[in-house]
Subunit: 352 residues, 2 copies
């Protein structure tokens, strides 16, 4: 009774992005207020004076987080951060959030209070108001669905599809740390599961673990853009990994990209830990995800404006679509990147 | 590691509404654009010319729906209806929705297509655009989180807190049918589980089952209000049951209510089926929920405007808070109603 058809296509054959594209391809938008729908960091609604930005994310226990090493307060904090990050990635200002949670009966009121303490801290830090949502029972585990609502002047909004050939590729902050933080947590969990008497060894790994458990969204970048009157030509937040998110920009802008390995900032702790794990640091940066840094492109005429921005790295250039998406390694080689970048630098030990 | 405290309070001790109140009581709103946050059918954002309305709901398999008798297409349709209904309950017009889904691997692409076919049909019927969302894996079952975005002129928005003593209590349509539809489906499921050879007996129960599986939101009421220049003083959609939703209005307006049983419309099929199940029809209407009709109050000066509205029933009056929330039965008795109304008409067979 759940489906009338007898054919069965596994979802894995389409992949997450393929599935969304497939499902929404037959939908069209009709309301004059709908400027942009599915396909960017946030949807854009024309509400007169300024535009309204809407972004939504669902986090499911066992899929997106593991409560055996994720404190609920951090999880609450992160659930807000990942959504406001999408509004910043449109060069907008988040103003409100809604939070819906599904809870199995293993959660106590005190546990939910911890979750909401983290949500509240993030709301205060990012200046957003909690305006709605609901709580409900769940059969299994914790589900968190957050929608962020933001605002931006129409002329300031930055989409994924505005990159032009010759634009400079810029990245805020360093990449790969959140991924390695996750690897450390997973390793310690496995050790602990095989021998609960061994204490976890998190020495000198605060930075990496912090980047995984309590990421921050780059509102400072949006403020710097405004201060320097800089409007990027395209932008996305790096949630899936630099390779995957660069592909989103290239695909939607119909361009290629030439990425300089030397322009991708990697924290010394990331570098050391990657080597300990037998991984290539650039692979972690390209494919790790969850750093919530901003990837953006600027018109070369704005080079002077971006040159002195703290914590922004110029990491390449936009090229013709038919030239592809390429990585220029520190060793002087040029490789094509794919959205599953690490597989093509096959070291045998990639994420996922 | 999931909570620092050693106390444990079960969520059941607070109840769903108690939990939300408890969790959000320490949150305050800061942004000038946040007019109203948690506590009404939808949040209201001041976006200049018109207000933006935001409503969100999460539906979880096994809690909110049972796929053994809910076709996925109907479920997709209903997931949109329950959210746009919240926007209508503010006297607003829904314009956009976001849909996030979590799917276990038992769902095929074809099954998800059915779900989205229902979502699409509802989007077309209610004139809303799908503008975002995501799909992700889940460990167990199907999770659907929908956010509806609507618009309304500031002076037209109707809140839950505007009912005044002397206002007339009005209800669109009839109540209790969706609840009885659910009882029929549950009964047939149990019979089928104990003996799979018996075919389900749904004869002459199309109306009740339809009200449960494919409810509609009352956009026609919003259009009639506009046509007759009628602005209710308070309004809510009846999702939890008339008693519970009347309590929301009374609590937030600081008033009581005097409800006439004779003013509550009950469909003949509801009446018959209730009696078959040994239930009191008014109990089903008071406590059933999921009818998605509108409960609203009007200034008595607007009596002429509402008198000739099709499918609107005047069902009582707003009284002083200290007079309580009372039901005047057809038998001439006056009973106090509580949010769990049916328990106090104890027939031994109430819902829940």
């Amino acid at each position: 009774m759940t489906t009338k058809k007898t054919n069965r296509t596994e979802i894995g054959t389409l992949g997450e992005f393929g599935l969304i594209d497939h499902l929404v391809s037959s939908f069209s938008t009709k309301n004059p207020s709908t400027l942009t729908g599915v396909g960017d960091d946030a949807a854009v609604l024309d509400h007169g004076d300024a535009m309204t930005l809407i972004s939504t994310d669902m986090l499911i226990e066992g899929i997106h987080f593991d409560l055996s090493y994720t404190p609920l307060k951090h999880l609450g904090y992160k659930s807000i951060v990942v959504n406001v990050s999408d509004i910043y990635a449109m060069n907008g200002t988040p103003e409100q959030v809604t939070v819906s949670i599904g809870l199995s009966n293993r959660f106590s009121v005190e546990a939910v209070e911890e979750l909401y303490a983290g949500i509240k801290k993030a709301c205060l830090n990012y200046g957003v108001d909690l305006i709605g949502g609901d709580t409900s029972a769940s059969n299994k585990g914790l589900i968190i669905s957050v929608t962020a609502i933001g605002r931006a002047k129409k002329e300031k909004i930055v989409y994924r599809n505005g990159a032009k050939v010759g634009d400079l590729l810029c990245i805020s902050g360093n990449l790969g740390a959140a991924f390695l933080g996750l690897q450390i947590l997973e390793r310690e969990k496995q050790i602990w599961q095989s021998n609960p008497d061994i204490q976890p060894d998190f020495d000198n790994q605060d930075y990496l673990i912090g980047r995984q458990l309590k990421p921050e969204a780059r509102f400072d970048m949006i403020e710097l853009f405004a201060k320097h009157q800089l409007i990027p030509t395209s932008m996305i937040d790096i949630s899936d990994g630099l390779a995957s998110d660069l592909f989103h920009i290239c695909k939607q802008s119909n361009v290629g990209a030439f990425l300089e390995e030397s322009g991708v900032s990697v924290h010394p702790d990331t570098e050391q830990q990657a080597i300990k794990f037998g991984m290539d640091p650039i692979t972690c940066a390209l494919s790790g995800g969850e750093d919530y840094e901003l990837l953006f492109t600027i018109n070369p005429n704005d080079f002077e404006k971006v040159k002195y921005l703290p914590d922004v790295y110029i990491a390449g250039e936009i090229i013709n679509e038919d030239q592809g998406v390429m990585l220029h390694t520190k060793g002087g080689n040029i490789h094509p990147i794919t959205a599953q970048g690490w597989q093509h630098f096959n070291k045998g030990k990639g994420p996922k």
